[in-house]
Symmetry: C2
Subunit: 495 residues, 2 copies
């Protein structure tokens, strides 16, 4: 099914309602938003539509629904899987950009009001277009913290973070976005408003519909605002860098830290020796945190509440004990905030250092935490055997059983040519390995458009059938974000 182009009458009504700040068909206005974050896909759209409030958003969806016109919701356009790019919608001239496409690209960036911060309720109500960094600042001003952070915090918006069930560096303690959403306001695909912003901690009135919108990748509705859970501001933090002899030792260390420090442990990030070397080589102003090189390194952050005992001495005691017992080789604790930031910079520069070193097929995978050390080794061996010369590297959120398992082009050759020829089969191979191991081919990035083919290849048919039944029930015309996550109509006709 090709989606219809919006009628001239529809575009006129949008233009009239939203005005020049909220409606454009000018290719120059559209161009910046038609290519995905990783520059893998460029699409096209009939218009860029930017509602200023929830009523406007409902108006847009209702008009589109009446004509069966496709809607692609977009927040900060920082999807790692092209989940917010209007590409692949039947009948579009792909790669041409600008107006003339069939979808309405609905940008939520104008809806950036923080409607309320309630320290008493430990809750904030933020509109979909609020940028994560702005949200952090707004609640910190009230001695509260929104405990989810990630590299794209200067771009990622509340609506996008919810629609992708974003993760980040504090999932170990606080869970992903799903754990932090108390309520959602959204426009359903027929234009009706689902209103649920009351900051309730418990509500057992039947199906928790917001759970479908969380991680739904914009395919079931357009989120306009959300109520998010806050926690008290941190009192003190302690950041340590630990050198290890094996990934198994990393797991033993994690469980020891949790037993001793409870939920004070917020981050447990794994960096291999090779990853640290890449960072030290490519990223300015970095230096090795320990005297020797270690096969594996872990960055740990632990925090204490504002009125509590500082956590540093307790962390130090656990690490000393771990070295004594032999499951840590060496460790250092940051003596200042500047040192703590420097340690974090080593971890957070991994992706950039890797990118500077050459092109790679990237995977965001998870298996059960206890299985990850063995899986990383097994998967690396299997990739090298199948794709000679390829160089796998794994790093990231070991505490969640989630690593970024990236496969770099062979050293010295033409990386781009290798990538063009091998990236897709490498990814399909890695996604197959992780699925066989009972894991997930998407831990935190979602499926979007870039991983749709592999997902549809590997998904349990029972699960896909249930997802499609729900999609068809909630969005019978299939107008919401077609081509992301789920098959396009023509793909569903396949046997």
């Amino acid at each position: 099914m090709a989606y219809p182009k919006p009628s001239a009458a529809l575009l006129a009504r949008l233009s009239e309602r939203l005005g020049p700040a909220g409606f454009s068909v000018d290719p120059a206005d559209l161009a910046p938003w038609l290519t995905d974050w990783r520059r893998r896909l460029t699409g096209s759209a009939a218009a860029l539509v930017s509602p200023a409030n929830a009523d406007d958003a409902a108006f847009v969806v209702a008009l589109a629904a009446a004509e069966g016109v496709a809607i692609v919701p977009q927040g900060g356009n920082s999807s790692m899987v092209a989940g917010a790019t209007p590409a692949g919608i039947g009948g579009d001239g792909e790669g041409e950009g600008g107006g003339g496409g069939r979808a309405l690209l609905v940008s939520m960036r104008r809806m950036r009001t923080i409607r309320s911060v309630s320290p008493q309720d430990n809750a904030v109500i933020a509109e979909a277009g609020v940028v994560l960094a702005d949200l952090h600042a707004a609640v910190e001003a009230q001695a509260r913290r929104f405990p989810l952070s990630l590299a794209a915090k200067g771009n990622a918006t509340v609506g996008g973070l919810i629609s992708t069930n974003a993760g980040g560096t504090q999932v170990l303690r606080f869970g992903p976005m799903r754990s932090l959403v108390l309520g959602v306001e959204a426009v359903l695909p027929d234009g009706s408003m689902l209103r649920g912003l009351a900051p309730l901690r418990k509500d057992n009135r039947g199906y928790d519909l917001k759970q479908l919108l969380i991680g739904g990748e914009g395919t079931l509705g357009l989120i306009t605002a959300a109520t998010l859970r806050l926690v008290p501001a941190i009192g003190a933090r302690a950041v340590a860098w630990i050198g290890l002899r094996s990934a198994d030792d990393a797991l033993a260390l994690l469980r020891r830290l949790e037993d001793a420090l409870g939920e004070a442990v917020e981050s447990f990030e794994l960096v291999p020796a090779e990853g640290l070397a890449l960072v030290l080589r490519h990223i300015p102003d970095t230096r090795a945190p320990l005297a020797d090189s270690h096969v594996w390194n872990v960055l740990v952050e632990a925090v204490s509440p504002s009125g509590g005992e500082p956590i540093e001495a307790r962390l130090e005691a656990v690490l000393a004990d771990a070295i004594e017992r032999g499951f840590a080789a060496d460790a250092t604790i940051a003596a200042s905030e500047a040192q703590a930031d420097a340690l974090w910079k080593l971890r957070e520069s991994m992706s950039e250092a890797e990118a500077r070193d050459g092109i790679a097929a990237k995977h965001d995978i998870t298996v059960p935490v206890a299985d990850m050390p063995a899986f990383m080794a097994r998967a690396a061996d299997a990739v090298i055997a199948r794709f000679p010369g390829a160089r796998p590297i794994a790093f990231g959120h070991l505490g969640d059983g989630n690593v970024h398992f990236n496969v770099r082009a062979p050293a010295g050759g033409d990386g781009k040519a290798w990538f063009a020829a091998h990236a897709a089969p490498v990814s399909r191979f890695v996604h197959g390995l992780v699925t066989q191991a009972g894991g997930s081919m998407s831990a935190e990035h979602g499926i979007g458009r870039l991983k749709r083919a592999d997902f549809l290849d590997l998904v349990d048919p029972v699960r896909l059938a249930a997802m499609l039944a729900i999609k068809d029930a909630v969005d019978p015309k299939g107008i919401m974000n077609p081509g992301a996550l789920l098959p396009l109509a023509e793909e569903r006709r396949r046997p």
Copy 2:
């Protein structure tokens, strides 16, 4: 639509597959399970069917689906809202009990295997019929804790706890059941198996289908097993009883405790002076914890991890400061486990003491935490004005914004007659008040059959339409737990 009776052939196939331990039409076998926990409804069923494993469960559902026969899933039969009672299914002779009804009462109580406990993954895989108390014991043997507990723990099963998104006394720290479910295995209404037990901390492969089964009250599928999150065993706990001058002071105390102790605060339970008096009057071996009586009392439990500093001194410091600043009147900290248990007994005996004092219309309501002190006062006044002589009392999980707001019959009269005449209108009135205040008429008990009428009266039509669309998509024949949560077919025909 009246549901058909299962054919003789269907019953014969069930009997053959499940054997005498898993199949009965003997009224004596069925009788104990046909009346709900609160003895408000008695239904009937064609057979009691008890699968021994997931394949059996899928066999049962597939057979029922083929004939369109209704299934009522049941765990410990401890629903507070008759969610697991086969009553009201079109064509049944209600109240007659035994065989001869139309539904299959599918008891999950034979599926009580704990398939695995993994301390490394902080996860347990338990079948649907595992009783909560048994689950606690099994994971404690591995130095882990399943941090959800409630009064019915000797009866409530894993499947029922998930289907009702159960709460309890530790929601403040760990959230309700939804926060603790990592994976679910379930039979969908067409008999297909949804397999998702891998203990993954992150998985963003599209719609999180288990979220619909959690709190779905058995209307979308039959849960056969689940993977549940564990946390390290407690090191030490401190339990305090605090006397307060106002409910507002209780909130101020809660936020102060959270700021100072972080997530160490696990429970924050409210007991009014009148509630404590009822307990002291009706429950043997109880004594007043403080010298004077206080308008409001709060029970606080705070814990520390096994290797951490004991929490008692820190809790004591916060309470001393609260008394100094004037938002606590008096406080005592248990000096032993026996004293801690004695304080908890005061809180946990509230329902029993109230029941011994006379009959009451019970409500399980929530509003935003910060609004609860004012709401309790306003709602009590409104109830008394509308139903002269009625005696409201509120107690419970103030930290979650959730209280049990019960309305007792006027003193001295015929309680049962009052209840028969007024309980339904009182409940409808209270549910209306809480809905108007942006709250929920079911914080943790669910809707079931007892609250269905009020729920359908008060629910946002957009929300109900979406719920029905999902129900019809996943269970097109409407065989799963008809009459719980959602309208029966004949009720849906109303305009």
